[in-house]
Symmetry: C2
Subunit: 105 residues, 2 copies
DNA sequence: TTTACATATGAATAATTATTTATATATAAT
DNA sequence: ATTATATATAAATAATTATTCATATGTAAA
């Protein structure tokens, strides 16, 4: 398994499906089937994503009867997610200088 | 150019070289040459990374004589970077239940 | 003790992203 | 004007990551 660096955490957050899962888990713990249903995404793909998240330490899981329940491994993760949640806040400044405008396509 | 979503921001942060550049720029504005020198990475590769960062709105640039100076486009970016900076803080919780231990490799 | 259900895994392929190399452009200095 | 310097770009290749599909595993119910 890989070492957990901030780059790895960003990697986990940088995939649409993984991020969607993390956001769902930041609201409530969920079984795999519920995630599959709520996202409409193929079960094996969801399982793969969950595996990545698990192996990188962002989620933990336990079995409950037939189901396996996933949850965020840490509350500080919620904080990170919410800090970037609204992308507009991050990249709100647009430079007005001539050169920058030329740089835009 | 791509729309700026939180996934795109995470993508930009999820590459070792790009993250290194962003961290350097969060301390001071820098010319391309200075970034090349301080990282020891090939100039065209640095220029590529800077282009990605620019096109995704995380940095801005302007010309000053022969040099082109890059800086972060927004201070809130610094905040994000520092929130995740210490990965240990994020993934500090390790579940102790039997099933989770079985899951570990 | 067979069948159904929930989830995981592995192998194959597809898609995306990173890196290199060679070259172009723009400014500045001679 | 010519040359040097700083940076950017484009095309080719290499490397990584995502997705699909088929199948395995483990639990529970009949």
């Amino acid at each position: 398994m890989d070492k957990i660096t901030d780059v790895n955490i960003y990697k986990m957050l940088s995939d649409e499906i993984r991020l969607k899962i993390l956001k769902m888990l930041s609201i409530k713990n969920m079984a795999v089937g519920a995630i599959v249903e709520e996202t409409g995404i193929d079960q094996p793909l969801i399982s793969h994503k969950l595996k990545e998240l698990r192996e990188n330490g962002l989620t933990v899981s336990y079995r409950s009867g037939k189901n396996i329940i996933y949850s965020l491994s840490s509350d500080s993760l919620k904080r990170v997610i919410s800090v970037v949640e609204d992308a507009g806040n991050i990249v709100d400044h647009v430079c007005n200088c001539v050169e920058c405008k030329e740089n835009d396509e």
